[in-house]
Amino acid sequence: MERIPILKMGPFLLVTIQVDLYDRLALTLENDLINMVSKTEAKGVLIDISAVSIVDSFMGRILGNIASMSKIMDAATVVVGMQPAVAITLVELGLTLAGVHTALDVEQGMELLRNKIGQIDTDEEGLYDSFI
């Protein structure tokens, strides 16, 4: 069965979707990704959808689900490279993907994730300091 590879890059997981997602593939991806987050204790998930030209409400919901699930497991989700047509479709469908961070390309998405990590680190340090 076809699977979308999930790459580990330091504290982040990188997923690039190169094919048009059909429902079963999207569900498999959701499952694999969440398992991977829990296994690697990743701090961030970056999903590159620059090659995706068609989305439907289901796909929009899956993206939202992945983001919510990752958030519960303490990982931020960034969706990068969305095509204009895809963005318009999602807005017209009423899916604004609240809770999902977005960036123009992988580079900017990585930067965003790094900033998030930095924030978390300083927050935790602050927390630690207050304990002492």
Binding site: P84, L90, T102, L104, Q108
Partner: protein, 295 residues
Amino acid sequence: MNKESAAALKGKKKQILDTWMSNQTKDAALRDDLMSVAELQQQSEEFLNSLLKAFASSQAENPDSAGYEPIHDILSEISISRARQGFSPRETSAYILSLKEVLSQMLEERYKEDTTVLYREIISMNKIMDSLSLVTTETYIKGREEVILRQTSEMSEISTPVIRVWEGILALPIIGTLDSARTQVVMEALLEEIVATGSRIAILDISGVPTVDSLVAQHLIKTVSAARLMGAECIISGIRAEIAQTIVHLGIDLTNIYTKATLASALKMSFSMLNIQVSKAAQNGQIGSKQNFGF
């Protein structure tokens, strides 16, 4: 219209054309600045030839018959070209109506002694010419509508430029009312430009939008959401006092969107979002001297 009248009119073709031409040129409605007399003469002759041929056909009474098809074509062509050239509707219909006058004159001469036939022939000729004049008006209006449609589409294209104000910052001054079709154009232009330039911030300036109702606000929110999905942040600027009042009175929620009163403050905000610092250069030499500006 009987064969006899058709033949009689055909015999007097030269005379009809001359009188018609002189009627047209005499009329103040003729715009020789838009069309030369020679051009008009050629156009009229071509038209008259086809018309006389149709009169002689077996179905001369029926203006919708096959014999009149070439005439309709010529007439449509003339009306549409006149509509594009800027003739008024009066000038355009005067073309066919002045011919009607000439034809009645000719028929009158031919049937001077027999008024019953004259009456019948005039009526049938009138019927045909009126129907042709309707064709003229109809195609004239169609031509004008084409012009209007073209102008509308040009206007909506012209009025949505996406400007790159800084590296990574786009500005989109919206002028005029936002409707669904225009929002679509604006949204697409903006999103394409975001991809092309890799800009992270887009400023939507609505100082040129006369009124904001709930529909326009909805369109703006959609544009902002779409840009956000692609990873760019939008700032709406140029919100005037009365627009702020309407938005609040209508109960539109803009709390999730960055709003600024002027384009300048939106630009300032974008600078701080991108960690760009703009400051005055240290002055050396006279104030206002050309070297300060790098000349």
